[in-house]
């Protein structure tokens, strides 16, 4: 059994789990929800094993580094963090329908990784051989996972608020006020991790190049993302923004995240182009 096999299984299983959660949303059959949660939990274990195994494999090949060093590995980690974060929410709010707006992100991220990025384990160039790098990638992606879920919830909010119907599909969604509250808390959580991510990145850059900030496109985009969420937070607790506007900011913020994470590597150039492999 190789890590690639395990992660391949993970991709397909998250697809099925996404289907089950969406099925739950559409048909509101409780059993589907239980099934979805069980399947997601099992898949999460397989994925965890895959990540650990990949780490072990890198040691066997003599390179020995945590699996967080390129696009493929970070997408897998993003997917993993999204699921763990979602489980936190499911547990706290006792609501499985949220899964329909979160688990598809975990699947899409795995699909993207396996379709477009080589999964071979490669040695690290010297600049990447730093514990700060791994701290940086981890903190960033925990934050991104929260923002992905916030974006899903933002979509959920907009869909629900558009329709006044009391019956049917949308009635099974949580109350607008509850969604709004979860979006806010999720953004708060993500913001703390993103801040830590930017800071650990700056420390890493300083230890490798002697400059903690050089306005390279990836850095700049992470700052742009940070500003968007800072604006969302301030708008909310000092000007009372809520509802639709925060839902939109959750979506815009996540678009900025995707661009930081993905767009920059392909459309712009800079120090971080290591990830384009």
């Amino acid at each position: 059994m190789t890590s690639s096999t395990l992660l391949g299984i993970t991709t397909i299983a998250y697809l099925v789990a996404s289907g089950l959660y969406i099925g739950l949303l559409v048909f509101r059959a409780k059993k589907l929800g239980t099934l979805a949660t069980v399947l997601t939990a099992l898949t999460f274990l397989v994925q965890t094993a895959g990540i650990v195994l990949r780490w072990i494999e890198s040691h066997r090949m003599g390179y020995g580094h945590p699996p967080l060093s390129n696009m493929y590995e970070s997408l897998v980690f993003f997917s993993w963090s999204t699921v763990i974060f979602y489980f936190g929410l499911e547990f706290k709010f006792k609501n499985r329908i949220l899964g329909a707006f979160a688990i598809p992100f975990a699947f899409l991220s795995m699909a993207l990784a396996s379709m477009f990025h080589p999964d071979e384990i490669r040695p690290l160039v010297p600049a990447l051989q730093s514990n700060w790098l791994f701290a940086h990638v981890m903190t960033c992606f925990v934050g991104y996972a929260a923002f992905a879920v916030a974006c899903g919830l933002g979509v959920m909010y907009l869909v629900k608020s558009k329709s006044q119907k009391k019956e049917g599909l949308l009635a099974s969604l949580p109350d607008l006020r509850v969604i709004d509250d979860i979006i806010h808390k999720t953004i708060v959580f993500g913001f703390l991790w993103l801040s830590a991510g930017i800071i650990t990145g700056a420390i890493w850059a300083n230890s490798a190049w002697g400059t903690y900030w050089s306005w390279d496109p990836k850095e700049t985009w992470s700052l742009i993302t940070w500003f968007v969420y800072a604006a969302a937070l301030h708008a909310r607790f000092t000007r009372g923004w809520g509802g639709t506007r925060i839902a939109w900011l959750a979506i815009i913020g996540f678009i900025s995240v995707i661009f930081t994470y993905y767009g920059v590597n392909f459309l712009l150039s800079g120090l971080h182009s290591y990830g384009s492999g």
């Binding site: 390179y63 301030h234 712009l268």
Partner: protein
Amino acid sequence: MSSDKKKNDLWAFLASVKLALFTFFTLAAASIIGTVLPQGSEFHRFVHSRGWSPATEKVLQVLGLDDMYHSWWFVGLLSLFSINLIVCTIDRLPNILRLVRLDNLGLGVDRIVKMPQRREWFTAASLAEAESAFREKLAAMGWKTARGEHGSHVILSAQKGAWTRLGVIGVHTSILLIFVGAIIGSSLGFKGNIMLPEGTSSTKVYAADGSNSMIPLGFELRCDWFELERYDNGTPKDYRSQLVVLEDGREVMRKAIEVNDPLVYKGITFYQSSFQLLDGSFSVRITDRASGKSRLFHIRPGREFKWPEASVGFGIVNQQRVYPMSLRHKIWFNDPAGDPVQFWVNDGGTVPVVRGGKTYDFTIKQMYATGLQVAYDPGVWWVYAGCTIMLLGLYVAFFMSHRRIWVVLTPADGGRVKVNFNGTANKNRVGFENLFARMAESLEEDDSIKLTRE
């Protein structure tokens, strides 16, 4: 009066969150430009490759878009952001400090009993009994109460986390600290780089601002040896430079640096950043095992080199090459212990040379120049302090709250005592509501004092 009013308007504007939202979004939008237009030395090439006219280039330059993060208007936006933050903090500080220091006993009873969390009970116990029972019970739950009287009411109050209201101040100040660090760094520090061939030294480095000027170090830096380690597939795994710091020709420091592990001397940091193969030159190290004496040579093929103290002479007589790399070297070696010998040694390898009673270790490798980035940044500790305070502050601001509880005891008809139990928290109200409910429940269940709802 009217000038006062104007001043207040300006102050209110500079303290407003509206302005903050404006700068957040403007900074975010403006920052995008610099990620799309290559900056600095790349700018000109980019403009050329796009076939834009010189006039367009000129206009972009006047707008500072070739180096926009340092342009007057971007720095202006950052200044506006800082002023906003400073004014806002000064504006709100007194109120926050007032809340932190607030005497919770001083609140009127009618305000206390209207707090968001409330329970009302009656007890047959006397006022004094009730008071001591509640004090003990609350102390056992971790709430140390203060006591006050207000007319016929006895008030017990307790609070936790009043200081957490300062978290926001911490976050906002930390951003200013980071700015201070950045300003110190850019005005008092410098960035530079240098390519130092093995065996050479320098007292200056090139400024990294593109001006090609030289910055004096105030001491001398020498590179003795550079080593490259590769993975099996040929990509560099690690590179390492043996650096020596000299003051007035005397060695004061020596360190082997590698990527992520720089040398720091007098606050100036030397980072391993790149390397360059110097074709046709070679570094040799000969060590006399018995005496431990060792010497470095930087040589070219086809000539004899001497180590007079050891009476050793040697040279490269042949090489096996795959341009530009040399794979093996054939060495001619001589000393007084016998006839000259010749032997092959792999590039980067070491061979023992046995001569009479002596053994020499002979190492040879291609010569490199080591590429160093040089930074002097006295502001970096301000930045790091700011970052630490920011993370702590964010945690406090987001996840900790100021919680307050009160017990108001009032003599009621029939010799009974009315008990009002109240509480409030400035954040995480749901969490506090649950905590409050649990506390109320355990007070109700307590046997030392009987509480009834009516």
